[in-house]
């Protein structure tokens, strides 16, 4: 796999001096082609982040916000026990969801990559797993209501079987339903990268392992698992960041009874307390970026595509 900015000089030198590669011409053409992406990312990613950092030092009245340079928002944030509780809850959601999506995603990808034999079948089943990703998350959350509700399918089935006498109250609007929805929405983000790395494992390695007397489980543990690590890392980055930054799943699936950092921010926004929301957002962003930075040490994303 060639690194995109790798060691070979780019052949695209028609517009540049022949010896170029680092030349002004190649740079210029590259910049021109990258310009639209740069403009969008600067305007709608970098500028908003800067704006949030600035506003996090501003003050607010009940109706408006005013420019200032004060640390009140941060002092309040770090002084409140709610903050720590909510961050802890957010980590808890991320950790549990990560563990579940990893187990399910790995198993599904393993089945697709090593047990499905025809390539057409592989593609078909893979698409079957990915299609829900292209439909609405909100609808997919709503669709759990008839299943988990007080008179929902789950409760009625359990009662019919005589396993419980009264409907379980914790099925909907609880940590359980929040995590269930996370797993439902985000397992795909594990399946795809893990499947992608598994498909590139040289099958002769597996034969070699078997010829040397490794059992299926040993092959899995000592050959497949280590080679799948990059895929697992990419999936982890996706799932952890999606869960850490979420606010709508927690709000909807917990019936507003549970909180995470995203909800803390969105509540402040609803109350027009933008500076306070911005301060929380800065802390959340810093947390997420630190986690990503750590995870990126284990994987080179561009080589894995």
């Amino acid at each position: 796999m060639t690194d995109l900015t790798g060691d070979t000089p780019p052949p695209e030198t028609t517009a540049a001096p022949k010896r170029a590669g680092h030349g002004l011409g190649a740079n210029l053409l590259g910049w021109l082609q990258a310009a639209p992406l740069t403009v969008i990312l600067v305007g709608f990613l970098v500028a908003p982040i800067i704006m949030i950092v600035i506003v996090s030092f501003w003050g607010a009245t009940e109706f408006s916000i005013y420019p200032a340079f004060q640390f009140d928002n941060y002092e309040f944030l770090f002084g409140s026990p709610v903050t720590y509780r909510v961050f802890l809850a957010t980590f808890k959601y991320a950790l549990i969801t990560w563990a579940l999506t990893l187990c399910i995603g790995f198993t599904v990808a393993y089945f697709l990559a090593f047990h499905v034999r025809s390539q057409t079948m592989q593609i078909a089943l893979f698409l079957l797993c990915t299609i829900p990703f292209w439909t609405s998350n909100i609808i997919r959350m709503i669709s759990w209501i008839p299943f988990l509700g007080r008179n929902g399918i789950a409760n009625q089935t359990l009662q019919d079987w005589g396993l419980i006498d009264a409907p379980l109250e914790w099925l909907l609007y609880s940590d359980f339903s929040v995590i269930l929805a996370f797993v439902h929405l985000y397992t795909l983000f594990m399946v795809v990268p893990i499947f992608n790395t598994m498909m590139r494992i040289d099958k002769s390695l597996l034969e070699a392992a078997r010829d040397n007397g490794a059992s299926g489980l040993q092959t899995l543990r000592h050959v497949i698992l280590p080679l799948t690590k990059p895929g697992i890392m990419i999936g982890t980055i996706f799932v952890v960041t999606l869960v850490m930054g979420d606010f709508i799943t927690v709000r909807f699936m917990s019936g507003s009874q549970k909180a995470n950092v995203g909800r803390l921010i969105s509540n402040d926004i609803a109350l027009l307390q933008y500076p306070s929301a911005a301060a929380t957002a800065v802390v959340l962003l810093a947390t997420v970026l630190i986690i990503i930075a750590v995870l990126l040490r284990f994987v080179n994303i561009r080589k894995e595509l």
Binding site: L37, L45, T135, G245
Partner: protein, 278 residues
């Protein structure tokens, strides 16, 4: 061919359960949307009717969902076209070693992993402070691109990582200009992947919620409208809407996949037509 082992059947059963887990709830609301007029949000079915679908078409019942649908459709198409064009250009750019490409790459990754509500909040604040009008076609459009472009870019990386440069060299050796090489060699070869980029662009925009929340202004997109309904609508009409918009998504996905499949078939039959256009 060797015999299937027990582990195959165990894993196949696990996979089956996973698919059921993925689709089961959606199918459930699909069924419940045909609930009779007296029926509620859960089983049992109280008769079978099209009552709730009819409700959707009487606008006063549930707000401006058709307007929201039109806006989401228009925005989805705008985002789709922009995502394809910008991703291809950026993909081409990243093949060269231009200064700053590393920074730009990490910006794109940041765009992918940043909590969506930060984009929403930040863009909303900027537009407010600068006195611009918040509108789905401006602030909403830009915010959604920060979500779709990284996906488009990653797909382009995957494509160009597998791209055989000898086609381009052949074109150049025969005297094609840089533009001719791109137009008649590179673009035809990567065309099927562009369908993939377009699919991501449209569907991610069509379903986007968090990044549009504070950036769409006074006119809601469809996901915002649907979420608004969850707080005040307690009838199966919301299932009917969910069923319709999911069907619409499936239709779009099917069309894109079909297009990619046909293109692949034709290519397998005719071979690459790269270079024939000059």
């Amino acid at each position: 061919m060797e015999k299937r082992t027990t582990s195959f059947y165990v894993l196949a059963a696990f996979f089956g359960l996973f698919v059921l887990f993925l689709y089961g709830p959606t199918i459930t609301i699909g069924i419940l949307s045909f609930q009779g007029p007296q029926g509620g949000l859960t089983f049992p079915m109280n008769g079978v009717s099209l009552h709730w679908f009819r409700d959707l078409f009487q606008e006063q019942a549930v707000g401006d969902i058709w307007g929201a649908f039109r806006r989401s459709l228009a925005l989805g198409l705008m985002v789709m076209v922009s995502t394809v064009v910008i991703s291809v250009m950026a993909g081409l750019a990243f093949r060269k070693r231009f200064k700053g490409s590393g920074v730009l790459f990490y910006l794109a990754i940041t765009s992918l992993v940043i909590p969506s509500i930060l984009i929403s909040l930040g863009v909303g604040l900027i537009f407010n402070q600068l006195g611009f009008k918040i509108h789905w076609a401006t602030s909403g459009f830009g915010s959604q691109l920060t979500w779709t472009l990284p996906f488009g870019l990653l797909i382009m990386f995957a494509v160009f990582n597998r791209f055989d440069r000898s086609y381009e060299e052949a074109a150049r050796d025969q005297g094609a200009t840089a533009w001719q090489t791109i137009r008649h060699v590179v673009l035809p070869i990567i065309a099927p992947s562009l369908i993939g980029v377009a699919l991501f662009g449209f569907t991610l925009s069509y379903d986007e919620f968090a990044r549009t929340l504070l950036t769409s202004g006074s006119y809601n997109t469809l996901p915002l409208e649907i979420f608004g309904m969850t707080t005040n609508v307690t009838t199966p009409v919301i299932y009917a809407l969910g069923t319709l918009t999911t069907l619409f998504s499936l239709l779009i996905i099917g069309a894109f996949l079909l297009a990619a499949w046909i293109m692949g078939k034709r290519r397998a039959r005719a071979g690459s037509d790269a270079g024939q256009g000059v």
